[in-house]
């Protein structure tokens, strides 16, 4: 579903992503872990088509710059990118129109209901709290029913109810055969449903593991993370 091959991203002399290759299969929740500044957000932005890079990125068999790849991709950024002068409902309408979606209204209603935004449909983007902005950003990402969803620190700013709801939604996507890539520092929050993990350090993926491999080795996510990033006390 997602194939990243030899991706390198440089900012001047700084190499943010250094020849990265990995993939995420259908029905798989893959984690992207690493300390601050490891290059996780940059990699996610490269996959989303927001940054230039060398190498290739395929989404459902198409280059990430093609229209078909864009149709198959959902991206929930670390900092919600909303329009100040549109209401919650108008954000959903805009996404539906821009993506030329059909029969989207019921789905949009359900999404904003799940995140308890249904009584705030007329609120403008500029009037929303940080948590509510994040919820709306997630709704916008889910509305086009993408086959690959990229999350960059999705739990930050969410209340416990929203975190629970988001986890459920991720599991539903997983069961529906969609691929999910999550960049996060909150290891506990993803413990229940991940299938593979990629740990980044200094712009490189230093470790890729499958869940079953780790379970066989009786190693948990946190221990692996600290061992790899050499931060274990």
């Amino acid at each position: 579903m997602l194939a990243v091959n030899n991706v390198t991203k440089k900012y001047g002399k700084l190499i943010a992503n250094d020849n990265i290759s990995f993939g995420v299969n259908a029905g798989e929740v893959s984690l992207l872990l690493g300390p601050n500044g490891a290059g996780k957000s940059t990699l996610i932005k490269c996959i989303s088509g927001l940054l230039k890079f060398t190498g290739s990125i395929g989404i459902c068999g198409n280059s990430n710059k093609t229209l078909q790849a864009k149709r198959d991709l959902g991206y929930i950024p670390e900092v919600p990118a909303l329009y100040d002068m549109l209401t919650i409902w108008e954000h959903m309408e805009f996404i539906a129109r821009a993506y030329s979606l059909e029969n989207w209204r019921d789905r949009a209603e359900k999404l904003i209901e799940r995140f308890e935004l249904d009584d705030k449909k007329k609120k403008l983007g500029s009037e929303l709290s940080k948590g509510m902005q994040q919820k709306l950003s997630i709704c916008c990402g889910f509305l086009p029913q993408p086959k690959l969803i990229l999350f960059d620190e999705p739990m930050v700013g969410l209340d416990p109810q929203a975190i629970k709801e988001l986890k459920n939604m991720i599991i539903e996507q997983q069961q529906a055969g969609n691929a999910i890539l999550i960049s996060t520092h909150m290891l506990d929050s993803v413990n229940g449903f991940w299938n593979s993990v990629n740990i980044m350090m200094d712009g490189k993926i230093v470790t890729c593991r499958k869940r079953n491999e780790m379970e066989e080795a009786e190693e948990d996510l946190e221990t692996l993370f600290f061992r790899i990033t050499k931060r274990e006390n």
């Binding site: 932005k45 989303s48 088509g49 927001l50 940054l51 230039k52 710059k65 229209l67 078909q68 864009k70 149709r71 991709l73 991206y75 950024p77 990118a81 329009y83 100040d84 002068m85 549109l86 209401t87 409902w89 108008e90 309408e93 805009f94 996404i95 129109r97 821009a98 993506y99 030329s100 007329k122 609120k123 403008l124 500029s126």
Partner: protein
Amino acid sequence: MKALAYLILTRTKNKILALRKKPGLMILYAFILVFIIAFILYQIFAPKLSTTKMHIDQRYMYMFLSGFGLLYLFTFTYSGISTGSTFFTMADVGLLFVAPISTRKILFYGLLSTIGKSMITSIFIFYQIPNLVDTFGFGFRDIVSLFIIYTVMIFFCQIYSIGIYIFSNCNQNRKNIVKTLLYVFFAILIIATYMISQKEQVGLLGAVRLLVDHKLFGYLPIVGWVTMFLKGILTGSIVNAMIALALFLVSSVLIVSLLTSQEADYYEDVLQSTEVTYQRLKDYKEGKRTSSNINRKVKVMDNDKGLQKGKGAISFAYKHLLEMKRSSRLIFVDNITLFTVIGTGIAGYSIKNEWGSYVILASLIYIQFFITIVGRLKLELVKPYIYMVPEPPFKKLVAASVSSLLKPCVDSIFIFGALALVGGASILDCIFMAIAYSSSGAVFLGLTLVYQRVLGGQPNKVAKVFIGIFLMISLFTPGVVVSILISFFVLPESLQFLSTLPYSIMSLLAATIMFFACRNILDNAEVSQGM
């Protein structure tokens, strides 16, 4: 105090060191410094060649200064009524306010920081040295005095704004009193101007000139005090200059005493303003805030129907229309249109010679450059949607530019309508000048794309300015030259209204080429972090 002294010194040191990473700013500061030094040396060593050169009446300088004073008085009174002003940053709130340091010391630190910021704000005065010397015959002492009083005015206005906030916070009656007093103040000035014009049989300009030169005017808060100080320096009346400074000082001390009095908790008083200032700065950096949406409270009606139209790329255009409707009820007609129309009307009324209309058109196009570069396309480029929506990049680009292309067209109807009505320019001239203005808007929009294409997502601001000026000159010069040549050598007197047409055609051509050259920009560029 050690911590605060450390903070001030370290921040200053780091700001200077940070200039190494901002060569453009360093060049600017070096340029100003060299300018000042050269001016001082010139003042000391240059022979006094002639004293017979005629300079403009210095009362014009009092008018400029009073104009700034009035603007600040109005702005800071209104900010005082809403959020107040602040001496602090969010870092001060988070780290200093909770630290075991005396609140008075922290206030002193805030005042010192504000003086520093006010001085930096006033530095532009030194940039005007040639004008001040040439036009008003200012010497070194006069320029330094102007710098000092301008700094004092900006510094005092911030204290004044906090004073208004403390007085009127959460009390609508007091807010109304402040507003009424402000309007009465302005009404007095208008009435006084009218009375002088009647009594002395002079025009509006002459009356204002006499007003700012009047002895009593010097005692009016802010506007009068600044004038009194400068007049005192220029006329050698040091007593008057000292009185003006004393008025600023006493008023500042009174407000600061109010701030530190037992009833007032200044942490609380400056907190909201600090947060608002922080958010505004953040919005400016991200390109969210434009002059047309500042301070406007938007209310969404129950019967508001949203976008209603559009599918695919064109949704961006309909979204922009909706956003513009929220910013201004008349969609394309906003504060910018209003101010430009008023300015054009005044200019048209004042300049009534053969080339007056063309000078106004050139000035309007110059101003338009700054308006267009903060347009909606630019705001769109800092969000991911325009890159991610599955539509061809050129379609998205055009759709996201529609509102920015239409705005100058709508603006031009009102602007050149005003020029025809008030300035007496011919209708045909105005129609073709409106076309020239609208086509310039398209060129400026094209430039926004070229920046993104040439400089990528995070362009250096200095590079942007230089490339912008270079491109502007390169793009407009041929059109202007051809227009002038055709006007002089081809067009008969009866068809002179067509003289701007070659410029318009060449501008539209340039805009089309730029759009076409940048047609795939959304696939090849990077999401911009506040272009």
